[in-house]
Amino acid sequence: MSMEDYDFLFKIVLIGNAGVGKTCLVRRFTQGLFPPGQGATIGVDFMIKTVEINGEKVKLQIWDTAGQERFRSITQSYYRSANALILTYDITCEESFRCLPEWLREIEQYASNKVITVLVGNKIDLAERREVSQQRAEEFSEAQDMYYLETSAKESDNVEKLFLDLACRLISEARQNTLVNNVSSPLPGEGKSISYLTCCNFN
């Protein structure tokens, strides 16, 4: 009987301009809701969700950051320990796409170099108001060596897929690291460090 209620723990941080739908994506994934009229996030928001992938329990700690400029300093401080970053933009807003290079610079500066970044174009339910073509986004993500996905938090399109794919990639990444480093858990997770408790559990 393990004391842990999970096999893997990953920290995922959502970033991107204000109003692109970061909070809605998280809500849709963790609670299955689409809160209409969601207010601007203050500072950071926190959600947790445990998913099962190939029989393994994966706990996802999701930190949803405020897009507003004034919270930039506190949100930056959360990048550092992230295992994955979801960089979000709004397909109906050219401006949010044009800011992406700036966000990439931030990532470069503050996040760990092993971080996995996913580019997400949200709000595909508003296809008729699309300003950023899929092709353009794909080209951009390829150039930056990022995984790309288009989602709709409102219609729940690709939201599950986004997080589950990410979890899969994080697991395989973690496994690789384990092989390379021969360490039980190379990821910064507070659970794994106290393994002595789990092994003494039966006496």
Binding site: G39, G43, D45, Q76
Partner: protein
């Protein structure tokens, strides 16, 4: 519930049975107290089992959370808390891992109640002082989560407040837990500080948004509380006390907030937490703690209204250990530098904060940063002048750059000057004079070695820089108390200052005079001379006078002539306005009070009489107003000095003149000149002698009372020095010709020519006879010399020449001197020269020819 199967129950390990027993059938019943006691007793008697108890408890709790059985969750937490409290410090370590796991589990929940429950347990744990190191504990998640809670945006206002408060308490807990333990995760790392500090500030700043004006009174009370110096922090602050104190300041209880303890609002709590955090910061950590504050203020653009920024830094300055306060100043300074291209309002905000912080810091030690601080401020001042002049931040006018508003730059400049002043006023004397010297060295002066920038902008910039720096200097010197004038006004400083005193610019001259006044005034007498008047009894001024000290006398010996000359020349300026005369009067009066001995008094009187001459003779073609002002200035000053010397006859003479002026020429008295609409007379040439102060009378009456009457008789003539050549006012040529004039007047030749012209027949005849005799003597000597050179052996001649070599050298020098300046020749030869004009050269020259012939 879990022990339903009796036989299985008996097989379970004892600790599991004990744990199971504390849970009641119905979670509503709460913890089973008796069984809890049993568990506690067991844990105490068998501490090695603690880790297993903890693990089992947390396992149950995690299961209960998953099954939404919150009643049992609370019970498990209560049990954990009790165990934690009951156990000894040494054994806690075994237990903590499972405890922290449980808290983390609760914090992961979306339910506010569980979050708060978890936080409360964590806070209790944080207050336990552990004495064993814990190497593998990590508080990353806690810091992240608590910071997130501080930013809670829950829809329900009451719940939002509760969550935020929990977050702050949690952060406080983390800080308490980790701050003293060097083996643990370093809480001062930027990754933690960047979360903790902004979270606290966010809550601190929120109070203003929420209760803004309506709570003006309570804010005032809070502001008062800030001024109290930081109380030394205990490791664990008893909750109750502080809550009571702060509760009385907080907002009026709303019906929603039922329990007494909840009255405290997030802002107050955040402030307390911030103070505690800063109070614990060691030298190396200050930077990491202050940086996020600066960034937060930047991001939320809080420099501009600056109330919050000032509040923050007051909290910081009063909370940190005083020996570190200069680090904060340093950081603010570098932040100012980093922002040198931001809007003037932002810079002004930073400077204002700096001034508030510097005042607090100065009470501690600011040692090494003092000059750096002034250097930065002065540099910013210059930059600002440049910005204002060029209209852009990069010196070249280009499109797209932000428009610079001149009045905002002006505001910024004023703020800088104010800061310089308020900071300087807190420094000890020796540092202040250092600062004064430093500031003075930054004033751009026209000099021969560093030609001033030419062109309109260059001049303009120089002028503005001079004004700004002198303003700063004035700020620094106000209230400057230095017992020793020598150290207050060292000569290199005085030289620079006085050379600016002769600038064409009236505003600059006034600043210099005011700076001098504030230096010299050490007894707070200056305001008593702010208006020029001829009081018949100066005792109403209640002057504070001390005897002039020995050092001051030395100072005056050294520098008095320089001072007099500048006063004299300043008086002659045509652009003077009333303020200048007032300042001049103040300066004269203060010198007489602070630095005067008998000699100085005599010189000052001579100076003032010379000024009167300026008005009377009017070589400079001064306007009527200036001349009347000079008359009035003289009257006022002599009135003052006569009463200070307390020589009755002197007083009487002065009074007489003043009285007759009152009757016949009121426009020569300050009461008529230095008013809003001066009553002047157009006809002031040819003033009757009764209306003037007379040198002869004054020297007579003062000579009778032991003053140096001989000196008094001499008219004052200012000494000219190199400085005048440097001053822009006069062209070099003019100065040189003046100097030549002075020289020729002083040289004895001129005086001696006068008697030489009265040549009678007798003297001529005598001269001729004398010169014939001299001629014969000369011839004889020449013959001897020639003979000697013809007959004597070479060695003898060589030796002779060697001995005379040095003599020759000195004679040569003498010749050079003579050719440059006509020598004071003996009167005998002059008469000889007159007697036999052109026929014979002066014997002094002739004597030298043989020496020259040697070579």
């Amino acid at each position: 519930m879990y022990g339903v199967c009796g036989c299985c129950g008996a097989l379970r390990p004892r600790y599991k049975r004990l744990v199971d027993n504390i849970f009641p059938e119905d979670p509503e019943d709460g913890l089973v107290k008796t069984n809890m006691e049993k568990l506690t007793f067991y844990a105490l008697s068998a501490p090695e089992k603690l880790d297993r108890i903890g693990a089992y408890l947390s396992e149950r709790l995690i299961r209960d959370v998953g099954r939404h059985r919150y009643g049992y969750v609370c019970i498990a937490m209560e049990a954990l808390d009790q165990l934690l409290m009951a156990c000894h410090c040494q054994s806690i370590n075994l237990f903590v891992e499972s405890f922290l796991k449980m808290v983390a589990k609760l914090l992961e929940s979306e339910k506010p109640n569980l979050q708060i429950l978890g936080t409360n347990s964590f806070v209790k744990f944080a207050n336990i002082e552990e004495d064993t190191p814990s190497y593998h504990r990590s508080y990353d998640f806690f810091v992240s989560r608590f910071s997130e809670m501080c930013h809670s945006g829950h829809e329900d206002l009451e719940i939002k407040t509760k969550i935020r408060m929990s977050g702050i308490k949690g952060l406080q807990g983390v800080v308490r837990k980790t701050v003293n333990d060097e083996l643990q995760a370093n809480i001062w790392d930027p990754q933690h500080m960047d979360k903790i500090v902004p979270s606290l500030l966010f809550n601190l700043q929120h109070v203003e948004e929420a209760e803004s004006e309506s709570k003006a009174a309570s804010l005032g009370a809070l502001a008062l509380a800030f001024y109290q110096p930081a109380v030394p922090l205990k490791v664990c602050i008893p909750e109750g006390e502080t809550v009571m104190v702060l509760g009385s300041l907080g907002r009026s209880p709303s019906p929603l907030q039922a329990p007494e303890k909840e009255k405290e609002n997030p802002a107050e709590l955040a402030e307390r937490c911030l103070r505690e955090l800063l109070g614990r910061a060691a030298f190396g950590n200050i930077k990491n703690a202050i940086k996020p504050v600066l960034v937060h203020l930047d991001n939320h653009s809080l420099w501009e209204p600056k109330v919050f920024a000032i509040r923050c830094f007051k909290i910081i300055m009063y909370s940190i250990q005083p020996q570190h306060s200069h680090l904060v100043i340093q950081q603010l300074l570098s932040h100012l530098d980093a922002n040198s291209r931001s809007a003037a309002t932002v810079r002004a905000g930073i400077v204002e904060v700096l001034s508030e912080a510097a005042v607090i810091a100065a009470t501690g030690s600011v040692g090494p940063t003092v000059l750096e601080m002034f250097n930065t401020l002065l540099r910013q001042l210059r930059l600002s002048i440049d910005y204002a002049l060029t209209g852009s931040y990069d010196g070249a006018i280009s499109l797209g750059t932000k428009i610079i508003k001149e009045h905002e730059e002006r505001m910024f400049q004023e703020a800088v000057i104010k800061t310089i002043g308020s900071f300087a006023s807190t420094l000890p004397t020796y540092q202040r004079s250092e600062v004064i010297l430093f500031t003075m060295s930054k004033v751009p002066l026209p000099s021969l070695h560093h030609p001033v920038e030419m062109g309109r902008t260059g001049e303009n910039r120089n002028r503005l820089t001079q004004i700004m720096l002198l303003k700063s200097l004035l700020q620094v010197s106000t209230g400057f108390q230095c017992n020793n004038m020598m150290s207050a006004l060292p000569s290199n400083f005085l030289d620079r200052l006085l050379s600016t005193a002769l600038m064409e610019d009236a505003e600059i001259r006034l600043f210099v005079l005011e700076i001098l006044i504030s230096f010299i005034d050490r007894h707070g007498n200056r305001h008593k001379f702010s208006t020029i008047s001829t009081l018949s009894d100066i005792s109403v001024l209640k002057l504070k006078v001390d005897k002039c000290s020995r050092q001051d006398t030395i100072f005056m010996k050294k520098h008095s002539q320089q001072l007099y000359r500048h006063i004299y020349l300043s008086c002659k300026e045509e652009t003077n306005i009333q303020k200048h005369y007032e300042a001049l009067y103040g300066l004269l009066a203060l010198i007489s009070i602070e630095l005067a001995n008998e000699e100085v008094v005599v010189d000052l009187i001579r100076l003032v009489l010379a000024v009167q001459d300026v008005a009377q003779v009017n070589e400079e073609n001064l306007p009527v107003y200036n001349r009347c002002a000079l008359y009035a200035l003289g009257a006022a000053y002599l009135n003052l000095i006569s009463q200070l010397t307390t020589v009755p006859a002197f007083c009487q003479h002065i009074r007489e003149v003043i009285e007759s002026r009152k009757k016949e020429a009121p426009y020569m008295l300050p009461e008529d000149v230095f008013v809003e609409r001066p009553r002047l007379s157009q006809n002031i040439d040819g003033v009757v002698i009764e209306l003037l102060f007379r040198q002869s009378n004054i020297s007579e009456v003062l000579g009778g009372s032991g003053y140096n009457a001989d000196r008094l008789c001499l008219p004052y003539i200012p000494q000219l020095t190199d400085e005048d050549r440097l001053s822009k006012r006069k062209s070099i040529g003019e100065t040189i010709s003046l100097q030549v004039e002075v020289e020729s007047r002083n040289s004895p030749e001129k005086e001696e020519r006068v008697p030489a012209e009265e040549i009678t027949y007798e003297t001529l005849k005598k001269a001729i006879v004398d010169s014939v005799a001299v001629e014969e003597q000369e011839r004889e000597r020449r013959r001897q010399v020639v003979e000697k050179f013809q007959k004597a052996p070479f060695e003898e001649i060589a030796a002779h020449c060697g001995a005379r070599a040095s003599l020759l050298q000195s004679k040569l020098n003498q010749i050079f001197e003579i050719t440059i300046r006509p020598p004071p020749s003996p009167s005998g030869t002059i008469t000889a020269a007159y007697g036999q004009p052109q026929s014979h050269s002066i014997p002094v020259y002739e004597m030298k020819f043989p020496d020259l012939c040697v070579y």
